[in-house]
């Protein structure tokens, strides 16, 4: 097996059936027991191919099958189009930064709408999680959150889901996003800070304008904002370019960067091409796109 591919994985850490564990509480499943095992050798078929999918980050899928009630405890405006919703989820099983969940709303007649959302908060044992949602024009779920939701309202969530776009905090992280694509990456930045990790982490975040920059007050030295329509005095306006990526890749931490790209498909294609052109290996680029 010469390439690091999606098959460099261990199947054994996936619970055989994902049957929900009864009696799961916030204390017996926390982020600390998420196993991080990669590139374990198994008999899983490994194709020999030219390109490569990054290896998977192993996570527990024990909680993924359970729908849980999440109660809104706080709503914070981030930008004119985005707000953060904090939820109490008492039996939340913990997550890794970058993971997402499925959320569903149920109407009186039984009609259900469900969507995947990235988790914005860092993993902690508070029994709370945060989501930051764009107000999508005509969106039935985001429309409810932005127009109707109040603290005390309940929704249902299921997760955390998927280990592919997760960052365990064990490797240098180069985070690249546009718009609300910053949400799962902010979970990584917050985790990095909360744990005082010394592994390098950099964030390149694109927004239309300073007013549209989500989490603007939280960024520190790790972050380089890129403004595409209007920028503060003295800051260039323009699309994310090779120079932005090159200056970050010039730093060569031991083990190399793991790149995480999140944004619209158009942005993800653009940013991943910039990374590849700048020499970032394709098997070290993880992409999450939204439609």
């Amino acid at each position: 097996m010469t390439d690091v591919t999606a098959t460099d994985v261990t199947a054994t850490d996936v619970t055989a059936t994902g049957v929900p564990v009864t009696g799961v509480t916030a204390t017996d499943v926390t982020v600390t027991d998420v196993t991080v095992t990669e590139a374990a050798v198994t008999e899983t078929f490994a194709p020999s191919t030219r390109f490569a999918v990054p290896g998977r980050i192993a996570v527990s899928n024990r909680a993924a099958a359970l729908w849980q009630t999440a109660t809104i405890t706080e709503i914070r405006r981030e930008t004119p189009h985005a707000a953060t919703f904090r939820f109490a989820v008492p039996a939340w099983a913990g997550h890794l930064p970058g993971q997402h969940l499925m959320l569903r709303l149920t109407a009186r007649d039984g009609y259900v709408a469900q969507r995947h959302y990235s988790i914005a908060s860092a993993p902690d044992d508070s029994g709370h999680i945060e989501l930051t949602l764009d107000h999508v024009e005509g969106g039935e779920v985001s429309g409810w959150f932005h127009s109707v939701a109040e603290p005390g309202d309940t929704v249902e969530v299921r997760g955390p889901l998927s280990g592919f776009f997760a960052w365990p905090g064990d490797r240098p992280a180069l985070l690249v996003s546009a718009g609300s694509g910053v949400v799962p990456l902010m979970s990584m930045v917050r985790h990095h800070r909360a744990r005082g990790l010394d592994v390098p982490l950099r964030l390149l975040v694109s927004a239309r304008s300073p007013e549209e920059l989500i989490y603007a007050r939280e960024y520190g030295a790790e972050t380089t904002p890129v403004f595409t329509r209007s920028a503060p005095q003295g800051v260039a306006v323009g699309r994310m370019a090779a120079a932005h990526v090159a200056s970050l890749l010039a730093e060569r931490p031991p083990g190399g960067w793991e790149a995480y790209v999140c944004g619209s498909n158009g942005f993800a294609e653009h940013a991943s091409r910039l990374l590849v052109a700048a020499g970032q290996p394709v098997d070290r680029i993880r992409i999450e796109r939204f439609g």
Binding site: V14, F51, T106, A107, H116
Partner: protein
């Protein structure tokens, strides 16, 4: 039932073609690949079927196009909840490839793999009987790279992560071996009508 206060949702459309928990994405066709879109030309593309078969075989782009053309017109369903109606893919039925390699009687499953190394597992029964294709056209045009071009697997009766983009081959097996998303907690089969999204559903 856990009713959400004040939530009404979109106008109800009685659409018997919409599987449970799905919505109609209309003209959108979201791209959700987890890896960098490969720069793969038709001249570089190959498709191989091996494993538990009488005659393992690799087809080039031209050789694959010599097989009888076949079209899928219908719907596709993504696990992230969107469905897309009335799509039209052109390519070759997977039966045409399997008729050449002749799977052994003991064969039950396959792992489909991409030129990126992405994998997904399927029961052989879901790949035969005119229900699966190697597709290289969409709406009469060459399939776009971000949608899996030059060619992708198409298994439209299952959630769309089973329809591996940039398809490179099938390994025919006598057991089910979880692929990329299946090892990441997704369901082994992924039937949208039974809402088999995640392992345990």
């Amino acid at each position: 039932m856990n009713v959400t206060r004040g939530f009404t949702g979109r106008p109800r459309v009685q659409n018997a073609a919409l599987p449970p928990g799905q919505y109609d994405a209309g003209d959108d066709w979201p791209v959700l690949s987890a890896e960098v879109t490969p720069e793969l030309t038709p001249a570089e593309w190959t498709f191989r079927v091996d494993g538990l078969v009488e005659e393992p075989r690799t087809w080039s782009w031209e050789q694959a196009h010599e097989l009888p053309a076949s079209v899928y017109e219908g719907d596709i369903h993504c696990v992230t909840s969107w469905s897309k109606f009335g799509v039209r893919f052109g390519g070759v039925s997977l039966d045409s490839f399997l008729d050449v390699v002749r799977p052994h009687g003991s064969a039950t499953h396959a792992v489909a793999y991409s030129h990126t190394g992405y994998t997904t597992n399927l029961p052989l029964a879901d790949l035969t009987g005119g229900r699966a294709w190697i597709a290289w056209e969409y709406g009469g045009e060459p399939l776009a790279p971000e949608h899996g071009g030059p060619a992708r697997l198409l298994v439209p009766h299952l959630y769309f992560w089973k329809s591996a983009k940039w398809i490179a081959g099938l390994r025919i097996l006598d057991r089910d071996e979880p692929g990329f998303w299946e090892q990441n907690g997704y369901h082994a089969r992924g039937n949208p009508w039974e809402e088999q999204r995640y392992s345990g559903d």
